[in-house]
């Protein structure tokens, strides 16, 4: 049966992985929610610290570049419909609702997701995970659940600071680089087209992405096999899965939160 239609191998493998990761992810989340992870609370804090000190700068730089792009495209689009002073509408929607979750998802998948696979995969290859089991420590709790809890501790704050940076970047490119609209006119429209619930929805989107990325990273690392080459292959596979997952979560989030109600301060 295998290899009957090679071009369909990708979607089939992907569906296969989806089920496995779902089961694994529920197990890890169960370890966190049942409180068993708090036996290793120090390790969770250490993982949160690694996340902040190792990945924060690159995440913010990436988010900043996307903010520049959001402002640039918005400014030129609004010029082409003859309403350059309304560039703030585009930036507000692009920054908060769509751009930031996607940028966050991409760079988290690239930096944190593959990093976790490389780390845990190397432990699996050098039999350290078996050693943990022999020592009577649950490897899933110690390696995966602590990382999940660490991500939940650190990532909301990284995300909120990212919002500040992406706003600053859009302001720079709309007002300073293209310069069709005055600073006051831009900010008036910009702040009018967003509200606190939008921020909460955006944060939920980002956190769901982060959770999935960490779980996918843990799964591929935990099940890595086949020597040093296996770790590289597993890392590559996790990135494939994460790219698709980020987009699907982004679309579902938009449909759920803004699909029926655009939440704009105009119209009846």
């Amino acid at each position: 049966m295998k290899g009957m239609i090679p071009w369909l191998e990708v979607p089939r493998n992907w569906l296969d992985a989806f089920g496995e990761i779902g089961r694994f992810g529920l197990r890890v989340a169960g370890q966190v929610f049942s409180g068993r992870v708090f036996k290793f609370f120090g390790e969770s804090l250490r993982q949160a610290g690694i996340l902040v000190f190792g990945s924060a700068l690159i995440i913010w730089a990436f988010v900043f570049i996307l903010g520049l792009q959001c402002g640039l495209q918005g400014a030129y689009f609004n010029r082409s419909i003859g309403a350059p002073s309304l560039a703030g509408v585009f930036s507000a929607y692009c920054d908060l609702r769509e751009g930031l979750p996607y940028a966050f998802g991409y760079i988290l998948a690239a930096k944190v997701g593959t990093g976790i696979v490389a780390e845990i995969g190397a432990m699996r290859i050098s039999d350290e995970i078996d050693a943990l089991e022999v020592m009577g420590i649950q490897p899933i709790t110690f390696l995966c659940a602590t990382r999940l809890l660490g991500a939940w501790i650190a990532i909301p704050f990284l995300y909120l600071i990212g919002i500040g940076l992406i706003y600053a970047a859009s302001y720079l490119s709309v007002v300073q680089q293209v310069g069709d609209v005055s600073s006051g006119g831009y900010l008036l429209i910009f702040w009018m087209y967003q509200s606190p619930p939008d921020l909460i929805f955006s944060l939920i989107k980002g956190m769901v992405m982060a959770t999935v990325i960490v779980l996918v990273g843990c799964y591929y690392g935990y099940t890595a096999s086949g020597g040093p080459i296996g770790v590289g292959t597993a890392t590559a596979k996790s990135m494939v899965f994460n790219v698709v997952a980020v987009h699907i979560i982004g679309m579902l989030g938009t449909v759920i939160f803004w699909g029926a109600n655009p939440r704009a301060p105009i119209g009846g």
């Binding site: 990708v10 929607y93 690239a110 890392t235 994460n242 982004g250 449909v255």
Partner: protein, 268 residues
């Protein structure tokens, strides 16, 4: 003492510059090896092309559809429906799907799917000392391994960009249909806003992204070291560097193209 501390602090900056320099050298070497005879890489080029296409087509289609349906589709359709101007969505999709998201998602998917696979493959060969063996046999690894990947990725990203644009517009049509809108207005504004410049800029940008991803991922794979963790770490770094480079490059290129082509800003 102070100088030493400064040197310590500047070390990451120095490393970044060193890495960028080495990658530029590799790019030039690849280009020279590609045009100088003999040309032993034909078969490998075809094989790599099919390999990348087979890996990428499914994630690309799902990702572009999801991103374009959620971000520009539903968000823009929501606010345009308040104005009763849903037919303008076509003009909006020129900006989003052709100028911005098409190349961006193609680059993200190719970096995440094909780039990681290239790094894992070359990294594994490096770890098993196959690259050194090739050199001993008098076979140039740049000419025989990097050049075919470089050319294949450039061709594939340009091709996939077209697919991304088609899927993006399909997602826009889906959003229009969701709002029970006849499609005539969508296509009318789409074709009156779209210019040839948009299309060639999009494809050209994407070709460059393919080159960037190929060089970064080949370099990281060929300089992998340190056993089991090494290949995984190489994949991690490769995908982070490719994403940041691609996003930065896209901002610069689209700034230049938008500012220097007045027909892109005309009100239609």
């Amino acid at each position: 003492m102070a100088g030493q501390a400064l040197g310590q602090g500047l070390r990451p900056v120095k490393e970044v510059f060193e890495q960028v320099g080495v990658m530029v050298i590799l790019t030039v070497r690849t280009l020279l090896a590609a045009v100088r005879s003999p040309y032993p890489y034909g078969e490998e080029l075809v094989w790599q092309f099919l390999f990348v296409l087979r890996l990428s087509w499914f994630p690309l289609i799902v990702s572009t559809f999801a991103l374009n349906f959620g971000a520009p589709g539903l968000q823009a359709a929501g606010i345009l429906s308040l104005f009763g101007a849903l037919d303008r969505l076509g003009g909006f999709f020129v900006v989003i799907a052709i100028r911005w998201i098409g190349p961006l998602v193609t680059a993200v998917v190719v970096a995440g799917v094909a780039g990681t696979a290239i790094t894992a493959d070359l990294g594994a060969r490096k770890i098993r000392e196959e690259l050194d063996a090739l050199q001993v046999l008098g076979v140039d690894p740049v000419k025989n391994l990097v050049v075919p990947r470089f050319l294949a990725l450039m061709i594939v990203t340009a091709l996939l960009d077209i697919f991304a644009i088609v899927m993006g517009l399909t997602a826009g049509i889906a959003a229009e249909l969701l709002y029970h809108q006849p499609l005539g207005g969508f296509f009318a504004t789409l074709f009156s806003n779209a210019t040839i410049t948009d299309l060639w800029a999009s494809v050209m940008m994407c070709t460059m992204f393919g080159a960037i991803v190929a060089v970064v991922c080949s370099y990281k794979g060929m300089s992998a070291s340190g056993g089991a963790a090494g290949v995984g770490r190489a994949v991690n770094q490769a995908v982070v560097i490719s994403l940041v480079a691609v996003f930065f490059f896209q901002f610069v290129v689209s700034s230049v193209i938008l500012a220097t082509n007045p027909e892109l800003q005309a009100v239609r």
